[in-house]
């Protein structure tokens, strides 16, 4: 095997051959990064730079004015910003926490327990990977008003609890654990619940991290509930409040506030992803649909 210099995937050290890859991807990376750098700069621009003509990309004298006006604008609208923040944090926390518990439980059963309809349920969930919530916004609206949970936190929380992608990834990850672990515990007299809590949960941390990020992204940015199922302003979420700012952005001054708002929406997502990115990549290795 004279000519084989080793697989080029995942190289350990830098080689000259990699330079052309950097050159090819550079324009795309810049295109992807540009808008994000822009929004960060825009959020910190003082009034005179927002009005500047020609407009400047980078901020010269960064200020927190936009964030301060954001606080003020919420106060003058009658509902304090802190109420929206509380609603969003509360709803997101419950969705993530409960969502993870129910999908790890289901994932364990679908992967390791034996019962009738197991294959049917797996293929049902796999088919639901292609489910697009906006396609059924009308029936969901009817169901939510039918069970009389409009204008409650339930309307924000319940529609987001079952996320097929999350269950699928968790189930695939559990498939990778050896059966012998569970069998040994059951021989020692452990119940299925103990196996789930003491053996499965500690071993699937990467999949849990991935499930957390998927739930978090959906819950944090979820707008359907505030737009359709909840009418009281004080029950709506931060994501909704931010869209009302965006609609005001014909005024140049409003742009800075809207940019500050979208930065606030974006940063938690990014930070969370950076923290768990290693676990996410680990889980994704099991993501294939066979």
């Amino acid at each position: 095997m004279a000519g084989y210099k080793g697989n080029r995937i995942g190289p350990k050290k830098f080689e000259r051959g990699q330079i052309k890859i950097y050159i090819i991807i550079a324009p795309l990376v810049i295109f992807m990064l540009f808008p994000i750098i822009f929004i960060i700069n825009h959020a910190f621009k003082p009034m005179d730079e927002l009005f500047a003509f020609p407009p400047r990309f980078f901020v010269n004298n960064p200020t927190l004015d936009n964030f301060k006006s954001l606080l003020k604008s919420a106060r003058s609208a009658g509902v304090p910003l802190s109420k929206y923040v509380f609603n969003s944090i509360f709803v997101t926390f419950v969705v993530v926490f409960v969502g993870i518990i129910i999908s790890t439980m289901a994932g364990y059963a679908l992967s390791k327990l034996k019962f009738r309809l197991k294959n049917t349920m797996n293929s049902l969930n796999q088919a639901a990977l292609m489910f697009v919530p906006t396609a059924v916004m009308i029936p969901r609206y009817l169901i939510i008003s039918g069970v009389k949970i409009t204008n409650t936190y339930w309307a924000h929380i319940l529609p987001l609890l079952a996320i097929p992608t999350s269950l699928f990834l968790i189930k695939q990850f559990i498939d990778g654990l050896p059966d012998s672990l569970i069998e040994a515990a059951v021989v020692d007299g452990a119940t299925q619940w103990t196996v789930y809590r003491r053996i499965i949960l500690p071993l699937i941390k990467p999949a849990i991290a991935t499930g957390i990020i998927l739930s978090f992204q959906q819950a944090w940015a979820y707008l359907d509930s505030s737009n359709l199922y909840v009418n009281t302003d004080s029950m709506k979420t931060l994501a909704f409040y931010m869209t009302t700012l965006a609609n005001l952005n014909n005024l140049v001054a409003g742009q800075g506030v809207a940019a500050a708002g979208s930065l606030i929406m974006f940063i938690p997502n990014l930070v969370l992803f950076i923290i768990v990115q290693k676990d996410v990549m680990n889980t994704m290795a099991h993501s294939g649909i066979k």
Partner: protein, 296 residues
Amino acid sequence: MKTSKSAPFLFLLPYFAMFLVFIIVPIIVAVGLSFTNFDTINTPGLIWFNNYINLFTRDSIFMRFVLPNTVTYALIVGPGGYVLAFLLAWAIAQLTKIPRTIVALILYSPSLTAGTALQVLWRIIFSGDRTGYVNAYLIEWGIITEPITFLASSTYLLPIMIIVGLWSSMGVGFLAMLAGIMNGNDELYEAGAIDGIKNRAQELIYITVPTMKPQMLFGAVMAVVNTFNNGAIGVQLSGSNPTPGYAGQLIVNHIDDYGFIRYEMGYAAAVSVVLLLIIWLFSKVANVLFTEKDEF
């Protein structure tokens, strides 16, 4: 292994209860409603396929704008974004660890901006007066003399939606494919080299793609879903439903228009069913392309 009879069902109950109420039942209700003239006020009457017949024969807005826009948008952002995601994943898999992680993060982060951030960001960039960034630079470089109202223009709205759609298309599917490529079997590449594979392109076609078909399929389904999840993008960018001259009207906006603006929910449900069928069709194509055929 001894399993108590009820244990599996207790484990499955909470998830599948939610799954049933918010995913399965809504789909069934959508199909049921699509055969009625439900308008939230009068008692709904059964009108069988009339909604579908009207949709395809009388709804000129659907046939002239919504359907062509949706197909154009979906074909470019779906498969286009998918191919782009795969090629980028493949390219950066050939970099060392730290730059690879940083580039992956940069490529993935736009998909995190979905919703509000996306809306604000691009509306400022494409703002229709001289203070809009694209306008200001085009004027400064002498390409145009008067600012273009990009987001209110029936010529530019759809292309801008496609650019923004592609920009935010490197989501979960991209990560899955990157992981799939990174976990490729080294021995296969070595065997390939012995069998006469000479360059990266051959390696890609004969080894990388066949070994990661399951991830390719997952990525494809995620690409389709992501495309249609962003279906309200035209309304978000232009700030009005219907979009100017229906130029950015996608099928999701049509559902919203009939369902929550005109309250013709039976008709809107028929549009929803058509959307679900389109998504199913796209995923079916992906299935045919990436399922291991030798198993059958």
